[in-house]
Amino acid sequence: MKASLVWSVPKPEKVIAVAMRRCYSTKPIEEIEAELEQKGPEYWKYLMTRALQDKSLDVIEHFVFSIVIDGMWEDEAGRLALAFPYVRLLHIREGRWLISMNARTLIEIWRGKAFVGFAEAIVEEFDRKGVCPIFNSLVFGERARAS
């Protein structure tokens, strides 16, 4: 199974950090974004680590993306859609699908094991395209890279 990135929210680590700060700050969003930009990726990583430790996965739902997946047959796509209703699938042709979802669902699919090949294909594509490297290393470790 192979994934090709179509679109991802820009700077997903920062988007997740913005969502976290929104919960604990009274400042206008422009100030939150400017502060996060100034503090940089190490601080985004710190916030994301906190969210993952606290199992506050709601903030990760704002990391949304679309991919084309190749090599997934209709029975597997049907089971995936039933098990994870927030995965949005559009059939392109045999074995190929346009899929839109968020990264929280990706984590849940990864942890659920039943569709781990699907999740690994997406993480491998994120690695190739340099999408959200902090998220990838924090959540998926070395497993995706080794596969």
């Binding site: 679109w7 988007v15 700050s25 969003i29 704002h62 949304v64 392109i92 042709r93 346009l98 839109s100």
Partner: protein
């Protein structure tokens, strides 16, 4: 109240992929693949209680466990604000509530417990990520005349921003 569109899916990137693949698709199918991330500031908690009932979306809202309340941080409905006598009643009540909050926190009550006294009128801020299909449903329900004035204003602005950012999607949907 202010709504800001922070991010949205590149509709043309999605459409180009489908067209290059030779896939036949209806514009309405794109509703499931176009997401918007909004930030909504300074609407009341009345309205955000209504908004989060639309569950197929992702929300992160300013917590009252840690933030302070201020006398200025309350929404006044137009039916109250336009009625001088009613506005005095409203203002007096908010003053009592706010002072109670301040006194309790000064007495060492944590904000997360003192907030139990705060009213639905308090202003709040949140970020929301929603796919176009859910947004369309929210617009259909919350811009109707039966909907309350504040959520109607919020959702009308969300839809205006979505249409402005991704006209190629909504033109096809609204004309189809």
């Amino acid at each position: 109240m202010r709504v800001k569109l922070l991010h949205y899916t590149d509709v043309n990137a999605v459409r180009d992929v489908l067209q290059s693949e030779g896939a036949s698709f209806d514009s309405k199918t794109l509703l499931d693949h176009v997401a918007y991330m909004f930030e909504i500031e300074d609407c009341s908690r009345v309205t955000t209680h209504q908004l989060v009932r639309h569950r197929v979306a992702s929300y992160d809202q300013e917590s009252q466990r840690f933030s302070s309340a201020s006398r200025e941080g309350f929404v006044s409905p137009p039916t109250v604000a336009s009625n001088q006598a009613a506005m005095k009643v409203y203002d007096d009540a908010l003053k009592v509530v706010y002072e109670a909050f301040e006194r309790m926190t000064a007495l060492g009550v944590p904000k997360e417990d003192a907030r139990y006294v705060l009213p639905n009128a308090i202003k709040t801020k949140l970020v929301m990520t929603v796919y176009a299909r859910s947004l369309m449903h929210i617009v259909w329900q919350r811009t109707a005349l039966q909907a309350q004035w504040e959520i109607r204003e919020v959702v009308t602005e969300m839809f205006r921003l979505a249409k402005e950012a991704t006209p190629e999607l909504w033109t096809a949907i609204l004309e189809g």
